[in-house]
């Protein structure tokens, strides 16, 4: 079996998931992790799919494109390299130490560069982004931008310094930055 990544995007309408997964099923595909959401009225799909070795990626992509053309979806299929055991490892820092997880919220007046500057600072500190979503808020007065992240940082990282620099960056960008430990109750 081989693993492929399927991404699809198009103006939202009913039947998109059924259309894409129908073609995948016809090709003997088995759905693994996936995430799908609506972005600005467009439906965005990201799926990991296990397919039999005798199914060429190109043929699958062509069949998908033809099968969902009437849904207005553009589809891309790419082979995915195996990342090895621990595929759900959210550390990503290469360290064997237990990382800590943090929630970061950033919001303020919309302006270019918020996501880049925040994530560049995180990367500089070796923090790994494991979840990120952004929303443009159509406030009556002025558009606002909301950036929400979940990050992991290595056990030896200096979180205090990271928070200090994030706060300073927020002041420069004119946005609020809040960092808190991701202490969701785990049953």
């Amino acid at each position: 079996m081989a693993r492929v990544a399927v991404t699809a995007f198009g103006a939202d309408r009913p039947g998109m998931v059924a259309g894409v997964t129908g073609v995948l099923m016809d090709h003997g595909g088995n759905l693994e992790d996936s995430a799908m959401t609506i972005l600005g009225g467009h439906f965005a799909m990201m799926l990991l799919v296990e397919i039999p070795d005798d199914q060429p990626v190109e043929a699958l992509e062509a069949d998908l494109a033809a099968g969902v053309a009437d849904l207005g979806l553009s589809v891309v299929v790419r082979p995915v390299a195996d990342v090895g055991a621990g595929g759900d490892d959210e550390n990503g820092t290469g360290s064997t130490e237990e990382p800590s997880t943090w929630s970061v919220s950033v919001h303020g007046a919309d302006r270019p560069g918020i996501v880049h500057q925040v994530t560049a600072l995180l990367a500089h500190h070796g923090a790994n982004v494991v979840d990120l979503s952004t929303r443009v808020v159509a406030s009556p007065m002025q558009a606002a931008y909301v950036l929400l992240l979940r990050i992991t940082v290595g056990a030896s990282a200096d979180v205090e310094a990271l928070v200090e620099e994030l706060t300073a960056l927020g002041a420069t960008l004119g946005v609020e930055v809040h960092v808190r430990p991701d202490d969701a109750d785990i049953l």
């Binding site: 009225g41 931008y145 991701d182 109750d185």
Partner: protein, 167 residues
């Protein structure tokens, strides 16, 4: 007086509020404005002073008739409100919105019951036991006084939702 509600990204919403030092006519006018502003908005269950541009620790709430409410003290307006006791029970996740973030809602974990203490506009101390939706509303309003929005408390980054139909 009904006051205009401020929206994200107004800087007052991100600023911790000062305590109300003196219970005088100014503080009583603020309390009245909070209530007037809440009553003027059909779906509002609470308004905090920073939402009407006043960086002082005061809010009002009223969850009467809300289907998720258990405790309900009717219209409550408190100056210098504090959470004095939170139950040890695990936090409960619920969907929250905010007049200052008109476009979005999100899932937030709150303690399910608590004791809230503060001063009435007449300067009397009041202690209220709250649970369920009223406790959630009070914690949401308390956060405003610390410059925090529900967006800063989401259970995870993807648990934020558009309130209106998609554009």
């Amino acid at each position: 007086m009904i006051r205009p509600v401020l929206f994200l990204p107004h800087p007052v919403l991100g600023r911790p509020c000062e305590r109300v030092d003196v219970i005088d006519d100014v503080a009583r006018a603020l309390a009245a404005d909070l209530l007037d502003t809440m009553r003027a908005s059909a779906h509002s269950v609470g308004v905090a002073a920073p939402q009407i541009g006043v960086s002082l620790r005061a809010f009002c709430l009223d969850v009467s008739g809300h289907p998720k409410a258990r405790s309900s003290h009717g219209e409550v307006v408190l100056l210098n409100p504090e959470l004095v006791e939170a139950t040890a029970a695990p936090a409960e996740i619920g969907r929250e919105g905010c007049m200052s973030v008109p476009d979005l809602t999100g899932d937030v974990a709150r303690v399910p019951s608590m004791v809230l203490r503060g001063l009435t506009p007449e300067g009397e101390e009041r202690e209220l036991e709250m649970d369920a939706f009223e406790a959630r509303a009070a914690q949401h309003e308390l956060d405003h006084l610390d410059g925090l929005l529900f967006l800063d408390r989401l259970v995870s980054a993807e648990r934020v939702f558009r309130r209106r139909s998609y554009r």
